[in-house]
């Protein structure tokens, strides 16, 4: 299945209930530092909402809960990549996206035969303290040449204004966080992102 060209990253199932009706087709659920029970509740609700709305859910980090709840797409950072039971995920038919920040991580990621590769941060990001300098647009082209037909997801500091440049540089998909969920009108902004993705 082809991935949607843009997708929001959200931290609760409730965001899915807000954004799905607007026509969002793909969402990543990224929950940080919450007790396992709460994460399980969120993932369960997110899966139910996504199924009802017909959108693809990607669960970040919590691959065991994702497996247990019958989710079919997970995203792993490099730290989780080492610990995750990739064989179990594959057996369950779960697809896999992996974060990369440098060449070494990219090689590790490719070794796991991912369904997409994420590259970030493209621009300075508000959300994470990262040891990496912003990758910049040139790096997108370099990554795309290396990974070929595997979809490339650009993430980190993306705004609507930066979207065209990111696509022009070779990204297949753009992931967005603050420019939607911290916008004063998240629904309105999400509509603009979707329109821009359709035009791209």
């Amino acid at each position: 299945m082809k991935l949607a060209r843009v997708y929001p990253i959200v931290d609760s199932a409730a965001w899915i209930s807000r954004l799905a009706p607007l026509g969002v087709r793909l969402v990543q659920l990224r929950i940080k530092e919450r007790p396992a029970d709460e994460v399980r509740d969120e993932v369960r609700a997110a899966r139910a909402l996504s199924a009802a709305a017909g959108l693809q859910l990607i669960v970040n980090d919590y691959w065991e809960i994702a497996l247990e709840q019958g989710c079919d797409f997970v995203h792993l950072g490099q730290g989780d990549l080492g610990d995750a039971d990739l064989a179990a995920l594959r057996r369950a038919g779960v697809r896999l996206g992996i974060s990369t920040h440098d060449h070494e991580e990219l090689e590790r990621a490719l070794h796991a035969a991912p369904d997409y590769v994420a590259l970030g941060p493209i621009y300075p990001t508000l959300l994470k303290v990262m040891p990496w300098q912003p990758q910049g647009l040139e790096r997108i082209g370099e990554w795309k040449r290396r990974i070929g037909t595997i979809p490339l997801v650009a993430i980190g500091g993306l705004t609507l204004e930066r979207l065209a440049g990111v696509f022009a540089a070779g990204a297949d998909v753009a992931a967005v966080v603050t420019d939607i969920v911290r916008h004063r009108d998240p629904e309105g902004r999400a509509r603009q992102w979707l329109a821009a993705a359709r035009a791209a």
């Binding site: 965001w15 009706p21 609700a45 909402l49």
Partner: protein, 257 residues
């Protein structure tokens, strides 16, 4: 007893769950209102700041029937998708269908509303449409498969009471067998009593309770008003007249010359 979609309801006061200062106040208000049905917004009230799933769990734990709404939807597609998600989360075919057409008055877009109602009713939903008092729209909604109508009293949250008494009275008279629930615009218990006196089957209150200085006490006041208004309706109110009619009979009065 009020019957909606085959469900008997003892209470004619439905309560919205938005804009309460805390879950504890909401819980107490529902108890004080003796409400059996609460509306829940899947999109607005459960999102972000309200720690989504926690709020839904709270509502599920209240031992009341949940009527999910599609608040915040502006198109047929948004409303239909939201209804699908609400059915999944709350496990009910009930949906209070709102499709907003105008942002200042939050007036329903009755064209989109009718279309969304048709789609959802065909899919097996039991639709409670938030509509105006317009008779023609009401007819279309019933034709679309709705078995309950929820006409507004006044714009959502405005607290202005029953703005169009003539229209609402006409609506009641035209659809004597259809459960009609006044939704939106009720500000004080006397408005609710008035709706019940006019023969409406129930009222739905949110802001007037949630934003009162003491929401729990106000919920109790509304419960009394709804009961009083309903009892008055059943008791048969007198018709207003233009001139005084002495309430004390003159026959038998002492003649004091």
């Amino acid at each position: 007893m009020l019957e909606v979609y085959g469900t008997q309801l003892g209470s004619r006061l439905l309560l919205g769950t938005a804009r309460y200062s805390s879950p504890a106040v909401l819980t107490e208000a529902i108890r004080a209102a003796r409400a059996e049905v609460v509306t829940v917004s899947l999109r607005r009230e459960a999102a972000g700041e309200r720690a989504g799933q926690g709020f839904w769990s709270l509502v599920r734990g209240l031992n009341v029937r949940v009527l999910p709404n599609t608040a915040g939807c502006h198109s047929v597609k948004e409303a239909v998708t939201t209804a699908h998600m609400a059915r999944e989360v709350f496990g009910t075919p009930w949906v209070k269908l709102e499709v907003i057409g105008e942002d200042d008055t939050l007036q329903p877009d009755v064209f989109a509303l009718t279309e969304a109602a048709r789609i959802l009713a065909a899919e097996g939903f039991e639709v409670f449409p938030y509509t105006t008092e317009d008779l023609v729209v009401a007819e279309r909604l019933l034709a679309a498969g709705c078995r309950v109508l929820m006409p507004w009293g006044a714009p959502i949250g405005s607290g202005r009471g029953l703005n169009n008494l003539f229209g609402l009275t006409a609506l009641r008279a035209h659809f004597p067998g259809v459960p009609l629930i006044i939704d939106a615009g009720i500000g004080v218990p006397s408005h609710a009593a008035q709706a019940m006196e006019l023969g409406f089957d129930a009222v739905l209150i949110n802001t007037a309770v949630a934003q009162a200085t003491d929401p729990v006490a106000m919920a109790g006041a509304f419960a009394l008003a709804v009961e009083a208004g309903r009892a008055a309706r059943l008791a048969g109110p007198i018709e207003p007249r233009d001139f005084a009619a002495p309430s004390t009979p003159v026959v038998g009065q002492a003649f004091l010359g």
